[in-house]
Structure formats: structure tokens, C-alpha cells
């Protein structure tokens, strides 16, 4: 999945963490926001099952982040959102742009509300995700380095 994004920070500080948060949130929201009604339940499951454990949601930096999701192979799911982090929490999510028209699509607002409600799209750690090859170690390490401040 290719993702493009830009970040606007109220405090003018463009920090790597902000990018990661924005990208992660947008990726999740982007998937959910842009699907047809018939596929929404499947997509909900997919969202719930995405292990976004790279981002420490307890360390969100306040600011307004804009993120975009390219929308997959045919750009069917292209969309752009604005996420406001306030007091360390996701306070508001707005859909800025979507490539799909309203016919046959689902309003993403309830999905956004769920993100705001639960603040818990991530898990802290995954049981049973055994990695037994040294080849994977580098990838794991890189992921965690990004998440660390």
C-alpha cells in the first residue's frame, strides 16, 4: 500500500511521531471510509484486526494532522482526512475529500466516532505472533524504532 500524506502542526513542529500517527490513523480510516455498504462489515473486521501496535496511542502529540490514502489499485478508496489531537487524544476526525460519490457508500462518521470513543485501535502486544527467523528481526526492530520517540 502506498500512502501519501502531509502534516500540519499547530505548533509548527513537524515531528516524525506525528507523521506515523497520521499515517496510521488515516490508513485505518481510509479503508473504512471508502467502502461500499455491502462490504462495510467485512471492512470493519479488517480495521479491528489491524495490529497498529507500532503507534503508542498514549503518546499522541497535540496538533492537527492531515493524511491521505491513495485508495488501492484503482483509487476507489482514495480519501483525505483531518485528525485533531488534543490533550493527547484523538478529538476530532473530518473527511476532507473522497474520490467516491455518496451513492452506495457509507457515511464514515460513525466509524470516526468509534475511533474517538475507544482510542484503542491498537494493541499493546500480540500473543502468538511467533517470529523465529532472524531475518524478521530487522523489520521488527525498524518498526519499533519508528514508534519510539
Amino acid at each position: 500500500m502506498k500512502i501519501r500524506s502531509n502534516t500540519v502542526n499547530k505548533e509548527g513542529k513537524k515531528r516524525k511521531m506525528g507523521w506515523i500517527i497520521a499515517l496510521s490513523i488515516v490508513m485505518v480510516l481510509g479503508i473504512g471510509a471508502s467502502v461500499g455498504l455491502s462490504r462495510v462489515f467485512k471492512e470493519h473486521r479488517e480495521i479491528k484486526s489491524l495490529p497498529l501496535n507500532r503507534v503508542d496511542f498514549s503518546r499522541l502529540k497535540d496538533g492537527v494532522y492531515i493524511g491521505a490514502y491513495e485508495g488501492g489499485m484503482y483509487k476507489w478508496r482514495e480519501n483525505k482526512v483531518q485528525v485533531t489531537v488534543s490533550g493527547g487524544k484523538v478529538a476530532d476526525i473530518k473527511l476532507l475529500k473522497a474520490s467516491f460519490n455518496s451513492t452506495g457508500t457509507t457515511d464514515p462518521a460513525p466509524l470516526y466516532e468509534r475511533v474517538i470513543d475507544r482510542q484503542s485501535l491498537l494493541v499493546d502486544v500480540i500473543s502468538g505472533a511467533t517470529v523465529t527467523s532472524k531475518g524478521y528481526l530487522q523489520a521488527v526492530e525498524n518498526a519499533l524504532l519508528q514508534a519510539a520517540e
Partner: protein, 321 residues
């Protein structure tokens, strides 16, 4: 919302990736000490490291009792207790059989029946003689061998949390290749959210558990398995009755326990026992809970997990027995 930072460390050890996450001051020292402790345990318990207690027991099988450290004795005793409880579904003397299957995995070819039967004849945890006064361990027949692979990560996870506590850490997790243990809650009192790996979709989870001061260990048929050219899957949890990988309809079992060693051993035992026998076995350890997943991706939870386990979409059934 806490402003504390989490310190993470990732390294390779005990044949897997070990990750720790520690909140609070003193995290750096605690992580360094945890690393040393893990290395020490591996030197004590690995059957592949010459000079380890387990290596010496195996080298002297059929010859003479071997002096072991008191903590090795404690671990062996607990392993035998769990073997008895599970009627051998979990058996630490399974090494001769697992060796054959490990080699088979490299060749992607099923071992022949005669070799399996020969290996099976060496497997019997009740043969292991533990003398607590002389502090010795002994296997009576040459060719027998102890393998603590089914509990060593649990043991290490427990010890790492002990180290964290000794350094004044109140909030941490440790993850030995998917073998998770948590210390306390997250700062601020929220429980840890532990995902259970989806047994058929790598990179996804099938649900989450909220835990504090608990270990969460999953045994799955997707771990250390191989496919034959015909597409048949052979996984690493072996049935000591048949000598073949268990084939009872379960593909993943997760155990939640206050004791990381118990969680580790019990996840293997419940997997090997199957859903019904496993659920009955689980009842013998009231503080432990479990999530079973079958080949149809039905999820079964023990009653203690009602309201705790959050499914990522699969239907959930509650075990009534």
C-alpha cells in the same frame, strides 16, 4: 492520560525475537538486567547449549543422575506436575520425537512410521527421576531427552518480570516470540490490550484480551510447521499417543494465567488435548482461562473471559463444560 514514556528493547534470543516494553524511571537498567537474566536462563535450560543443566541430563541419560541447580529442579517439578495434570498432553521428554519432526520439516517429508514408533518409545515424563534431596535429575534410558522448549519462554518471561519488579518497575510487558507476560497495568491504570494472532492471516489479530498482571500465551498450528508438496500441513505440537502432529480440529489455543510458565505449558497441553478434553483440563486450574480456535475459525472462550475477549469479527461461543 499518562505522560510516561515507554522504553522498548528488541533482541534475538532463545531462538526467537524478544521484546520488552517498560514504563517508568529505571527502565534502562531494568532492561539491561532482564537481558542478562534471559541469557543466564538459556545457559541453564537449553538442551542445545553444552554444559546446561538440561544438556547434561540428556548426555547422561541411561548412565547416571546429574546434579542440577535448585531452580532447574523447581522448573522440572512444575513441568512434571503439568504433564501429570494433562495426562501427558504436555510432556517434556518429547525431544526424541520432536527431533525427528524437526528434521522432517527441513526435508519437507513425513518421517516413516518405524522411526516415529522408535522415537515414541523414549517419550515418557514419568521416567524422569527427580531427587530433591540429592538435587539430581536422571533419565533411565539412553536416547531419552528432556526438552523445556514448551515452558522455557514462559519461565524466562516470568523471571524478566521479577527483574523488572526488583528495579522498581510497576508497568511493563515482555514478549518472547508471541509469549506475552504483563506486569501491572499501563500507567494510569488501564489494562494492557493483548491481541491474539489470527491463525490464518499473518499480520492480523482475531481478537483482543484486556489483562493486568497476567501472561497470555498462544499455541498455533502455524508456528514451526511445514507443508508437504501435496499441501498437507504438519505442525510442531505432537500427539504423544500417535507420534504425529495433533489433528483434533484446533488450530490455535491461547491461555491466560497469572503464571507465565503455566500459560506456556497449558497452551500446548490444551492444544494437544483438543477442545472438550482441553476445556475439562482447564477447569483443574481455576485461575487460568483460554481461547480456543478451530479449523472453521470458530472462537470458543472459557467463562472467565466473558466481557473481556473482544472478537475482531469471528463468531464467539462460550464454553459450557
Amino acid at each position: 492520560m499518562s505522560t510516561q514514556a515507554i522504553r522498548r528493547s528488541v533482541r534475538y534470543g532463545m531462538s526467537t525475537v524478544i521484546t520488552h516494553g517498560v514504563y517508568g524511571t529505571g527502565a534502562e537498567q531494568a532492561l539491561a538486567a532482564a537481558e542478562k537474566e534471559t541469557d543466564r536462563l538459556e545457559r541453564l535450560l537449553s538442551r542445545f547449549l553444552p554444559g546446561s543443566d538440561v544438556w547434561r541430563i540428556n548426555q547422561n541419560a541411561g548412565r547416571e543422575p546429574v546434579s542440577v541447580e535448585s531452580e532447574t529442579m523447581e522448573i522440572l517439578k512444575k513441568a512434571v506436575w503439568l504433564a501429570e495434570l494433562s495426562r501427558g498432553a504436555f510432556d517434556i521428554t518429547i525431544a526424541p520425537l520432536s527431533d525427528i519432526w524437526r528434521a522432517a520439516g527441513q526435508d519437507k517429508a513425513v518421517p516413516d512410521g518405524a522411526a516415529i514408533r522408535r522415537a515414541l518409545s523414549f517419550v515418557d515424563y514419568s521416567n524422569l527421576k527427580l531427587d530433591q534431596h540429592a538435587m539430581t535429575a536422571f533419565l533411565p534410558r539412553a536416547g531419552q531427552a528432556v526438552d523445556l522448549g514448551g515452558i522455557a519462554k514462559g519461565v524466562a518471561a516470568g523471571r524478566v518480570l521479577d527483574v523488572f519488579r526488583a528495579y522498581g518497575v510497576a508497568s511493563a510487558y515482555t514478549d518472547f516470540g508471541g509469549n506475552v507476560a504483563t506486569l501491572g497495568t499501563k500507567p494510569g491504570g488501564a489494562p494492557w490490550t493483548v491481541g491474539i494472532r489470527h491463525p490464518r492471516c499473518e499480520g492480523s489479530i482475531i481478537g483482543t484480551l484486556s489483562v493486568a498482571d497476567r501472561s497470555v500465551v498462544t499455541s498455533g498450528d502455524y508456528q514451526r510447521c511445514f507443508l508437504t508438496p501435496a499441501g498437507q500441513r504438519y505442525h510442531h505440537i505432537l500427539d504423544v499417543k500417535t507420534g504425529y502432529p495433533t489433528d483434533n480440529g484446533l488450530i490455535s489455543v491461547t491461555v491466560i494465567s497469572a503464571c507465565p510458565l503455566t500459560a506456556d505449558a497449558l497452551s500446548t497441553a490444551l492444544f494437544a488435548a483438543g477442545l472438550e478434553k482441553g476445556a475439562r483440563l482447564l477447569k483443574k486450574i481455576p485461575e487460568a482461562h483460554a481461547v480456543f480456535i478451530d479449523t472453521r475459525l470458530n472462537v470458543f472462550i472459557s467463562q472467565g473471559l466473558i466481557g473481556n475477549f473482544q472478537s475482531a469479527g469471528q463468531p464467539v461461543k462460550i464454553l459450557s463444560f
